[in-house]
Every structure is written in C-alpha cells, then in structure tokens.
Amino acid sequence: MAKRRAGWALTARLGAAMLGAAALVPGVAGAQGAGAEWTTPAGTLQGTRYSTLTDITPANVAGLVEEFSVPSGLHGSQEGQPVVAGTTMYVVTPFPNSLIAIDLANAGAVKWTFTPPVNEYARGVACCDTVNRGASYASGKVVFTLLDDGVVAVDAVTGAQVWRTSMGEPLTGMTMSGAPLIVGDKVIVGNSGGELGIRGWVAALDLATGHEVWRAYSTGPDTDVKIGPDFHAFYPKDQGANLGVTTWPANNMWQQGGGTVWSWLTYDPALKLLFHGTSNPGVWNPDLRPGDNKWATSVFARNPDTGAAVWAYQVTPHDNWDFDATNEYIAVDLPWAGKANRQLLVHFDKNGYAYTMDRKTGKVLLAKPFIAENWSLKVDLTTGAPLFQAQLECGIGANPISFTGADGKQRIAVYTGTGWIAGGMSGGSCPNGAWDNNHAGPPPGPTTTSTATSGAVHVFKLP
C-alpha cells in the first residue's frame, strides 16, 4: 500500500491531531462534543463535529505538522471522516469500500484492511462518484455501507466480518454511500440513487445480527413513510393524509420519487429522536413531476426503535435544483430568546439557508441565507415555506444555483463551544466530481503529497 498514489489528506491531518489528542489528557468533557474517541462521522450522535480536547489551541495550531499518511491507493474522493475507537482509526475507502484500521499509537501502522467483495455493477450505477461517507463504531463493531447496497459489521479488533446484510439491488440504480449511525442496538442506514428514478428510504438493522428491523420510505402512502398517530408536522403545509402520494402527478410517479437518505444522520438522546434529511426528488426532470414532491428534500424526526415519524418539514418544495436536504441536522442546546438551553436543531442547507429549528416540534425559529442565493426571496417563518423568485420558475434546468449547492461545496457546521460557523468541504459534493468524465486527459499521476488529490477533506480551525 505504501508509496502508491496518495489517497487523502484527511487521514494525515486528522491523524496527527487525533494522535496528539489520544496521547494527552482530554479536556473538559461536554455533552455536545466528542472526547478522545470519535465514534461517528461527526464525532457525536448529535453531529456536532466538536472535540472537547484542548491540546490544539489557536496558539499552536499553526505548528501542526504531518506525522504520517496512509494512502488508499484509490483515486475516488474521500468523503468519509475517519472514526477513532481506542487508539485505532478506521477509514472506509471509496469503492470498493475497504475498511482500513490504522494504529495511532504506532505511527500509523496499518493493523489490517478488510476488503469485502462488492458488486462491480454498483460502480457504474452510482450517481456521483463512488464515495463512501464513513463508518460508525459501537460495541466492538465498525459498521459501514457498501456501494452495492450491502451493510457490513466488522470486528473492530480482528477485522473479521460479523455480519453482512443486503438492502437492495444495484441493478435498479440504487446504491448506498451514506454513513450509518448506531443508536442503541440499532444501525440506521439510508439509500442513495435519487437521480436514477428510485425510491428513498431509511432503515434500521439490529446491531448484533444485521437483521432489518424497520424501513421507512420517503415517498408514498403514510403507512410506507411511517406517518401515524405520533406524527405532528408543525406547519399546515406539511399536514394532511398521504402527502407522499398527493403531492405528485396522478400516475404514481412517487414510486420513482427519490428522497434518498445518502449522507449523515443524527440522534438526540434527550428527546430520543433520530433526525435525517432526504434528497432531491426523482425523476430528475422537475417538469415531469409537478407538485411539492413530498417527502423529498425534507427533514424527518423519527423514533429510532420503530421508525415512526414524529414530525417532518419539507425544506425545499418541488426541489428543482438538486438542493437535497441531506446535510446533517445538528442537535445542540444553546441559549435562545432568553432561554438558557433551548433544544435546537441546526442545519446548513445546500439551498443556501441556515436553519435553526425547535427539534422537538420542527418549528423553524430562524432561516437566513448564509451565502448569496437567488432562488428565493426568504423563508416565511409563519408558513415555513420559502418564497420562490418567480422569474426563476421557468422550466427545465433553470438552475441558478443548481445542484452544486450554494458555492458548489457541501456545507458542514462546527460547534465551537461558543457559537457556530459553516465550513466548506471540498471534493465531496456530487457535481464537483461528477462531470470529470467529459474532460479529456490523464488521471492525476502518482504523488506522495497529501494535498494534491481530489479526495482531500480539509479540516479548518477557527481563527
């Protein structure tokens, strides 16, 4: 593996940081941050991406140097953030989705690499590069998805497969690239492929056995969406029976309606709620699917034990731009309107707005653009609906911001302990890597520097 093509900068940078962290006494432990371990892609179940460790400070951050790097041997973008359990770092590569265990206590030595067989067919089907968005760790298992719709649990010590479950058939256009989230004894996963006329879902597997416990679809009748007596959408626009059918053309186009769950999930232990967004609707051509196209481009709060929806909010109705609503929903308690610790949900959307919501009810407390956008005038906090710029509703492909989302970068949020910032994450969003196939030229040559690949993820430190 060594000295082949460089795989990612992420490992090196975060590796250095994490190694330092693991070797030193953690800082003040906080409910909203991760400690020496980093067991979900965003560090915590709540998705805060915040470390309570205090070793790296503004004063010394400039002095960070690369201690080691581990190449993936692959050209694909590296979207999955590593997880750390004990002093072992686990990294999932893009297709063919190997899991590499790296010993942080031993200068980055590779302990083992788990290489599952993955159906080659999936690589051709995947919409947007053959990325994987990372693993989760719990109870001695590292769990991640495979592009061919498999979910695997691997023994964190031995690297042996514990179970593998097939969630679907890549021949249909469905793939899996999202990161699982482990909530108690359940592994929550979602599918990908909303561009290819498939139907989105989120599902729970038993952590011990891999058996499917429940699956909730993003389109179709309420029973399929798991909307029942427990469901209370905050806004009238999101209330009513079977909106997953009635907001579509009459020909059951919801059956190909997208709304996949392809990225990152979060969970709030206090309210016992799982939060996940859904992708763009299908089919791709918006003019063939007049209507709001629920529940694509929406956010759900669900009971992780049953999948039952507790509330939902459609972020962008009739998503014409591939905005998705899948960027993570960060559960955090912050001062709000005079209240010391309001239970909030913070979300930076590809549509250009930053949303602050009451995570118990789904009420939008604040929705302001965090970047220049021109598809809407504002989000009406009374109705919860965005007000479209009428002149942009002019048919096929009129995508002023387009599927690149804002400035073409996925958004992430970082909890600083005192406030929020949005950070850019390059090399990740669908279109960034999507259209390379039309450009002639050789692939990037071998390199040993960790910044010259398309798969680099940059970790920013606050000024």
């Binding site: 080659e120 067919y121 690589r123 051709g124 089907v125 995947a126 919409c127 947007c128 590069d129 021949l171 249909t172 256009g173 492929g193 561009e195 290819l196 006329g197 053309p249 009459a250 020909n251 186009m253 190909q256 299908g282 089919v283 791709w284 051509n285 003019d287 063939l288 699917r289 007049p290 591939d322 009428a390 002149q391 942009l392 002019c394 048919g395 096929i396 492909g397 009129a398 995508n399 002023p400 599927f403 669908c430 999507a434 259209w435 390379d436 196939n437 039309n438 450009h439 002639a440 030229g441 050789p442 692939p443």
Partner: protein, 284 residues
C-alpha cells in the same frame, strides 16, 4: 426575466447537446478499443458488460459484432475490458489507457477524436401496430390521452429530447418512468418496450437502437417510428451520428479505423439491420 430564463435555457441546451446528451449517448452506446502495440496486435475493446443491444460480456451486442469485423479487417486480435458505461466511463477506460477505441460516441464528441460516423439514428416512438397511432406530434391534444413511457434517466442523462419536449408542455400526468439499467434477464432496459406490447402503456419514446432492438421481441406487433424534432425547440437534436472514438492524439489509429469502416460498410450495415437499429437519413 423571461429572457434571462430563455438565455439560461439556451445555455443549458448547448450544454446538453455538447455534454449531457453526448455523455448519455456515449454511455448508452459503449465502446470498444483497439490497440496497436506489440505484434500480434490486439484491439482492446472497452465495453459495458451489460448493455444490450450495444454490448455485453458475452459479446452479444451489435457493437461487439462490429468490433469483431473491424479487428478482422485490421488483422488484429480482439480483447475486451469491461466497465459500466456511465459516469466516469471514459475516465476509467480510454483516458486511463485501459483501451484505445470507444465504439460509440456522438460524432464530433469533443473529448475524443472521432472517426467518420458509421451510423445515424434518432429517437423513436414504439407503439402497438393495432392502435394505429399517428406520428408523434408533441402539440397534438391526443398525446395527453396516451399512456407514455420514458426512460427514467438520472443526472447522467438529465432528460432525453422527447422528455424535454413533453416537459415543456406540462405533459406529466400520463407519463411512466422506466428503469434503464440492468441486464436483459432482469427485464431491463427492454421492459419499457415490453410494456407497450403488453398494453401497460401506449407509447414508448426512447433512443432508436434500444427501441428497435427490443421491439424485435414482439414480431409483427410493434411500430417503431422516428421522432426527429420538436418544432418548439429546433435547437434540440433528436438525431445523432455515431462514430468510433479514440484519444485525441491517436490520429493514426483513427485513420486506420476509418479505412476499416469504409471497407466493411456493407457488413456493418447488415449487423445494424439485424439488430433492428433504425437508421436516420443524413441531414441535407
């Protein structure tokens, strides 16, 4: 504001024609690659392992057959390297050096050097002969009363030209999307044509070689008629000339292939005919 939109639409259409549709066609039409390195020379064909009627791993596609004819003409052995012909196909194959010739790209496709086109086809309408439908007129009110099937393409293919023609007229409620991927035993992508024969839909609008090939499964039942234009969008191409593609620097190889295409034109035409590929006239 309208003009802004129009401009954007026009810009997008250019992009579609230059890239998306081209990419779609390249994706759907697969590739074969010949290499001329050491003797005995091998024509390395990079092709989709599962995309009839164009190619499959058993060599049953018409592009596979044509590749065999060309290799024989050039006195080369034939070898295949398989890769799903969708996003990243050229990057993974031709540009990675895994193959030297792509069997099918739209003529003039800018990313590669193209031979002279060896066939020209169009989008088609597949319907039941017994229904005696008139030629497709996107503005005919009757079109809204028909059940219409379209390939449910994704980001790669964006929209086929017929889908764009329907969409701009707000024709949506009577459309069913069909998957386009998957092997023939799985019932895809020919299922859209089977659905016409079965009466599930009245009209399938799709790329000619696909429609013509799968219509052969229902001999004497289905009409395959060309759909050549949308009067409301004259800039939108429905007819594409298909060429072989090589790396831009590979002009000698392109020239050799051009020679073989001319010498073997009759055999190639017979292969296309056998696969039911509807041929479009050269533009005047």
């Amino acid at each position: 504001m309208f003009s802004n939109c129009r401009n954007r639409a026009a810009a997008l259409l250019s992009a579609l024609l230059a890239a998306l549709l081209a990419a779609l066609l390249a994706a759907l039409l697969i590739g074969a690659c010949g290499s001329a390195q050491a003797a005995p020379e091998t024509m390395r064909v990079c092709a989709d392992p599962d995309s009839l009627p164009f190619s499959n791993q058993r060599g049953e596609g018409f592009e596979d057959k044509i590749a065999g004819v060309l290799a024989a003409d050039l006195g080369m052995k034939l070898a295949f390297a398989w890769s799903s012909a969708r996003r990243g196909f050229l990057r993974r194959t031709l540009f990675a050096g895994a193959c030297d010739v792509v069997m099918a790209v739209p003529d003039g496709f800018p990313a590669v050097a193209t031979t002279k086109p060896y066939y020209r086809s169009s989008y088609v309408a597949v319907s039941r002969m017994a229904q005696r439908l008139p030629p497709v007129d996107f503005d005919a009110p009757g079109l809204r009363a028909l059940k219409i099937g379209l390939p449910a393409l994704g980001a790669d293919g964006a929209n086929t030209p017929p889908a764009q023609a329907l969409a701009r007229r707000g024709i949506a409620d009577n459309i069913t999307g069909f998957p386009v991927f998957g092997s023939v035993p799985q019932g895809q992508p020919g299922r859209i044509v089977d659905a016409v024969a079965a009466g599930e839909i009245d009209l399938a609008l799709l790329w000619g070689p696909v429609g013509g090939y799968f219509a052969q499964r229902h001999p004497g039942e289905l009409a395959v008629t060309p759909v050549l234009a949308d009067p409301a969008q004259p800039e939108l191409a429905f007819v594409f000339a298909i060429s072989l593609g090589v790396r831009k620097a590979d002009t000698a190889r392109r020239d050799a292939l051009d020679g073989a295409l001319i010498r073997r034109a009759a055999e190639i035409a017979a292969i296309l005919h056998g696969y039911g590929v509807p041929l479009a006239e050269s533009p005047p």
